[in-house]
């Protein structure tokens, strides 16, 4: 893990975070907060945790910033090469398996929780979860990062299969905002992206535009 001196003490840069990905009929929606911390200092308050791996495949990164950036770079290279060999766009499942291969082989050295989401012609929108340890599982909706604990209940009660893209975007924005309010390691702005056969649409929701849930 990369360590930076903060007030004379070495701290590692972490993306303790809130990330989320959901499938809808025709694509996926992904979302994340934007905070990177080094101890109690927010090293980057506008981080982009939604990283493109290929034209229609993204990953959401949580855990160690260095580890996840390195893995994402490796997988981007491997997938790009594979796609040239195949002479067609790669499958989301392939990208997910490449992540899993790295995360499992080096599981003792890495701290990386990754959500792989994208669209391909064979199976449409797919979300794959590769948590710490290097498991791989496909789920219709998945949350990750330190803030995810707080929104499991919200997700379970509000997600329904076969939602529209706009409903998914609203749900993701609401869930990430709720997590940001409760988790000290999540905050900043909400970054959203939707991926379908027509391409990728990215959006940012600034702090003052977030839905408000304060009860006092």
């Amino acid at each position: 893990m990369d360590s930076v001196p903060v007030n004379g003490v070495l701290r590692s840069r972490l993306i303790e975070t809130t990330i989320m990905a959901l499938e809808y009929d025709g694509g996926v929606v992904i979302g994340a907060d934007s905070r990177t911390t080094t101890g109690a200092y927010i090293a980057n308050r506008v981080t982009d945790k939604l990283t493109p791996i290929h034209d229609r495949i993204f990953c959401c990164r949580s855990g160690s910033a260095a580890d996840t950036q390195a893995i994402a770079d490796v997988v981007t290279y491997q997938l790009g090469f594979h796609s040239i060999e195949l002479d067609e766009p790669p499958l989301v499942e392939t990208a997910a398996n490449l992540f899993r291969a790295s995360c499992y082989r080096y599981r003792e050295e890495l701290t990386a929780g990754i959500l792989v989401a994208g669209w391909d012609r064979r199976k449409g929108g797919q979300v794959y979860c590769v948590p710490i340890g290097g498991m791989l599982v496909r789920q219709p909706v998945s949350v990750g990062g330190s803030g995810s604990s707080y929104i499991y209940g919200f997700m379970d009660s509000n997600y329904k299969p076969n939602m529209t893209k706009d409903q998914c975007l609203e749900l993701t924005a609401a869930a990430v905002s709720l997590a940001m309010e409760r988790d000290g390691s999540s905050g900043g702005v909400v970054r959203l992206a939707s991926i379908s056969k027509d391409g990728v649409e990215r959006r940012v929701i600034l702090g003052n535009q977030l839905p408000k849930y304060s009860t006092h």
Binding site: G153, F154, D156, S157, L178
Partner: protein
Amino acid sequence: MLQETGTEWLSQEVKTGTTIIAVEFDGGVVLGSDSRVSAGASVVNRVMNKLSPLHDKIYCALSGSAADAQTIAEVVHYQLDVHSIEIDEDPQVRSAATLVRNISYKYKEELSAHLIVAGWDRRDGGQVFATLSGLLTRQPFAVGGSGSSYVYGFVDAEFRRGMSKEECQQFVVNTLSLAINRDGSSGGVAYIVSIDEHGTEEKVVLGNDLPTFFDQ
């Protein structure tokens, strides 16, 4: 678990790793809890009622170490009895909460229990108090226990002031069900207690009657 002899649980601390919630409505309160008591990986009691009466119209919800929580509740029950005889009327909810807080704060290094105190009195109607780590704060609703982390997002999004008693009961049951689904230390049945000026009503919702969600 090749080496397990089945007796590890005898030496592990008994915890009510749990989910507890109390909600205020206009005219009273609703308290809810799950019913699981665990010692390590074993469930030593699957039907424990964690809603303990402190007085006719004041209840507390127990979480954390089972022994610590029960003892605090019993001591405060006795102290409130004496106090209500001395003042010759029903005690205030704030008095009960203060008594719990006094014990929690004085012995905070030795105890590891969190009690939520809720009830109805003539002066201020329905009230909910949190006493975590020895603080005392009145809140419109409070959640606690290991399962509460998973439902912070849900309760933040769904709670509204001015709900009726039935809406509060439904809100409590939904919250408990979501938490039980995600938290390994919560489970069993849901106990609900509703307190208003007319009296106290205790109810049990069995496991198969709990609300289900999209993945069940």
